[in-house]
Amino acid sequence: MSLLTFTALLFLGSLLAGLLGALTGLGGGVVLVPLLTLGFHVDIRYAIGVSLVSVIATSSGAAAAYVREGYSSVRIGMFLEVATTVGAILGAFLATVVHTQALAIIFGVVLIYSAYLSWQQARNPAPELKKGSPWSGKLRLSGDYPGPDGSRFKYEVENIPGGFGLMFVAGTLSGLLGIGSGAVKVLAMDRIMKVPFKVSTTTSNFMIGVTAAASAGIYLHRGLIAPGLAFPVMLGVLSGSLLGARYLVRAHVSVLRAVFTIVILALGVEMIVNGVTKWF
């Protein structure tokens, strides 16, 4: 395959990965890494490096739209970023000692679990919290968000250590696998800390970029960000996710969403099978 064909196919594939990521709410990275390894036979370490770069791009690219909605909480985000950035650095170091086929298997498992989480989170909203932990106010994590009639809903949070701990795990997975791990971040905020769902998803978007930036420098230093892959993939995923956010999310996509979740599950299984057969 010539470089131009390879680059063009990579761009189109990444565009599709970005669209799928936006549509399922899982982010571009979880589709991108299987696409690069299974479809383009790229070494998983290169795939993870370039995926981290696209994750920063999509998270930052979507930021203005999320800010406009007025749900995100800069304090909850910043507080929990302490946990995710430490985790991300640990994950980037772990990536050097974990066998590449083991990486593929872990990726597959996380992919399937994320798909399940995001499916479940969208279907069963968490019950509303009446009274939060006293630390919610002390750490200034309590906040408010705009209701449909312009009034502001106040909220508090609970189980801060639990949420913080799971955020550390989310950061480690992000640094190890090159994904945003948005589904785990939303799990930590929405389910464990009882942050309202809309606040959780928008705040998670900002955290994804900061978390990925913590480990991307380490990948760059190791020579894992290949320029020939970076430019078609980053531009492709960014265009795909912006298109997805703008045109598809607005439409009725519950059937599409179901189909794509199955595609993602299949990719996860394929990653595991591929990893196991190549390893043993």
Binding site: L3, V210, A213, H221, P227
Partner: protein, 136 residues
């Protein structure tokens, strides 16, 4: 640089609160991504021109050239017109975007005199810089 969003949106200085902080941060991220994408596009076109005869092979991990792995080398490469270095510059700009957001938050919490969150932002910034300094 003043990142003024829309005339009706609150702007730092008039009445500074978390909401205006987030509005400015959103703009900051957008500008960073736009800039990185433009540099990436230029580098990509030049890269495709320079390497179009080559056959890409990423099956096995071989580390990228030493020069493209740290900030000084990338800047030297850009000065020499190396397309690979221009792409890596775009990657560095992209990594710098969320870092700039945290720096801005640190300043904003400083304006609000929120000691707790000045500390929290400083820890996050330290982690980000630690990751980047590994790349020196």
């Amino acid at each position: 640089m003043v990142l003024r969003a829309k005339p009706d949106e609150p702007v730092a200085g008039d009445h500074f609160d978390d909401r205006s902080m987030e509005t400015i941060m959103g703009r900051l991220l957008q500008v960073g991504v736009l800039l990185a994408s433009l540099v990436m596009l230029v580098g990509g076109v030049l890269y495709a021109k320079a390497h179009h005869r080559g056959i890409p092979d990423y099956r096995e991990f071989k580390s990228e050239p030493q020069d493209l792995r740290h900030i000084g080398g990338v800047i030297r490469g850009v000065a020499a017109g190396d397309p690979g270095a221009i792409i890596q510059l775009a990657v560095l700009l992209l990594i710098a975007t969320p870092v700039a957001r945290v720096v801005f938050a640190l300043i904003a919490f400083g304006i609000e005199r929120d000691k707790l969150y000045i500390g929290v932002s400083a820890v996050v910034l330290a982690m980000l810089l630690f990751g980047l300094i590994q790349s020196q």
